[in-house]
């Protein structure tokens, strides 16, 4: 997956986790929490969805990398570069 494809995938996961939010103006550099109502259970949902959809494992001590869209994509890029987008 390319960084753009990873971003689309994260957006898709977020739209499922937070169906009431308008994600069209999401700023990549800003933290998710500044822009959306997300709690720790929601972040666990992101981790679970990546695990279920792509078998990507994110160790607990690396959850902080999921703070913003930019940091998430950057963190996932090496883990997802060999995954072919369905």
């Amino acid at each position: 997956m390319t960084p753009a494809e990873i971003r689309d995938e994260i957006l898709d996961i977020l739209s499922e986790i937070a169906p009431d939010e308008d994600l069209s103006d999401l700023e990549d550099a800003k933290s998710f929490r500044e822009q959306m109502e997300l709690d720790s259970m929601d972040f666990l949902d992101i981790v679970m969805e990546l695990r279920k959809r792509h078998r990507v494992q994110i160790p607990e001590d690396e959850y902080t990398n999921l703070a913003s869209m930019a940091s998430t994509v950057s963190y996932l890029e090496p883990k997802m570069k060999d995954i072919i987008k369905a």
Partner: protein, 419 residues
């Protein structure tokens, strides 16, 4: 003039009244719509399909779920929570309470459930099958969704209620048990307002259907609207339904102080246990439960105008309840008997509360709604005063008695009075 029962002689702070009701049932999302459909003979049972079991029948609720919950709350929570939130919010909205100024630390939530957690557990097991049952794919939402207090807790979260909240597990007697718990807590001054009743999400668990089917107790019929047929010779089992019915209960002294509309007064109740079988009822204990409720209220059987029966459409259960009713009401020419499950199926944890609700307007319109689908009355279920097929106008309705029984031999009876 209404006969004097024991409860009406208590001080007002020991008398408990219903000041509002909110509900969703398979044939109505508020009391007016539900009552109109009960009087019109309109069933809410539909074709339904669920994993593993396949095509079957069910009573399905269709309400505006996003009226009181965000899509995220609905996704995170349970169906039992969603139907509970709907009914609790609707009840409060109809109560005339100035909710923004209510001390919510003095509100208690008491929700009857037949079962809880089956839906989510089945969903998770189904989900991890795709991952060869590797439990690292098991949802972190499972525990908060399946804790037994979940439906009551979701109501508390949604409405900002900080008083006590819990569920009362009482099989299919749970709707009555939830209301009884509310009455007791108000009398003890543990809360000032009780939001009490019952919920059912049971149509979302295949296990309920499969278990009734294995037991030979799951209803089937080519016409869904005729599948739930208590007391009929051709009844062949239970129609599983979802639903919710929550009441706002208050002490009479508080209700009077705010000039609240009063739907009914809860004048008596009783709960007892068969201690004889896991599933088969015991008419002797059921009759004792009814007698206990009458005695506690200082009432005679012939003071009860309407009995809302529990009968679920099973072969033995219906005739056993009729046996109990003959024992308890044999001498009464006044009492009429009806059955709501013939319209909406068995709403499990909500049944007691919901079936009572559909009868409450009789205090004003003096009409006993019918039991539908009784085309050939089973002689074992013949009762003097059984209202079948068409509603019956009565000269007056002062007292309604509501039966609700459940597995493991739990029996509950609630008696309410016109106010």
């Amino acid at each position: 003039m209404i006969a004097i029962d024991k409860t009406s002689q208590l001080p007002d702070d020991q008398r408990v009244v219903m000041t509002a009701v909110g509900l969703t049932s398979p044939n109505g999302n508020n009391l007016e719509e539900y009552r109109a459909n009960l009087l019109a003979g309109k069933s809410g049972v539909k074709d339904y399909e669920i994993r593993y079991v396949g095509k079957t029948l069910a009573g399905i609720c269709n309400f505006e779920s996003t009226k009181y919950q965000t899509k995220k709350d609905i996704r995170r929570g349970t169906r039992a929570g969603a139907v509970g939130v709907w009914a609790a919010q609707e009840a409060v909205a109809r109560s005339g309470l100035d909710w923004s100024n209510v001390d919510r630390s003095r509100v208690g939530i008491y929700v009857g459930v037949t079962e809880h957690g089956n839906v989510e557990t089945e969903n998770e097991i189904h989900s991890i099958k795709a991952f060869d049952y590797d439990t690292q794919y098991w949802s972190h939402h499972h525990n908060p969704r399946t804790v037994a207090n979940n439906p009551a807790g979701e109501i508390a979260l949604n409405m900002g209620i900080t008083g006590p909240h819990y569920t009362i597990g009482a099989a299919c007697a749970a709707g009555n048990a939830g209301i009884i718990q509310g009455v007791q807590m108000l009398r003890l001054h543990e809360c000032d307002i009780a939001i009490a009743g019952g919920v059912s999400e049971s149509i979302h668990t295949f296990g309920i259907f499969a278990s009734f089917k294995s037991q030979g107790a799951l209803a089937s019929h080519s016409d869904p609207s005729q599948a739930s047929r208590p007391f009929d010779r051709d009844r062949n089992g239970i129609v599983v339904s979802e639903g919710s019915c929550m009441y706002v209960l208050e002490r009479l002294s508080d209700a009077k102080a705010r000039n609240a509309p009063i739907i009914a007064e809860i004048v008596s109740y009783a709960i007892n246990t068969d201690a004889t079988d896991f599933v088969l009822p015991n008419p002797e204990r059921q009759a004792q439960c009814i007698a206990m409720a009458l005695a506690r209220g200082g009432l005679a059987a012939d003071q009860i105008d309407i009995v809302s029966t529990h009968a679920t459409g099973t072969s033995s259960g219906d005739s056993q309840e009729c046996d109990a009713l003959r024992r308890a009401f044999g001498s009464s020419n006044r009492t009429r008997f009806n059955n709501t499950k013939s319209f909406i199926g068995h709403t499990m944890g909500a049944a007691g509360a919901l079936e009572l609700a559909g009868n409450l307007p009789a205090f004003q319109d003096r009409v006993c709604h019918a039991t539908i689908n009784v085309e050939n009355l089973d002689p074992d279920c013949a009762l003097n005063g059984l209202v079948v097929q068409e509603p019956q106008e009565l000269s007056r309705v002062d007292y309604i008695l509501n039966n609700s029984f459940g597995m493991l031999g739990i029996n509950s009876v609630l008696i309410v009075r016109r106010f």
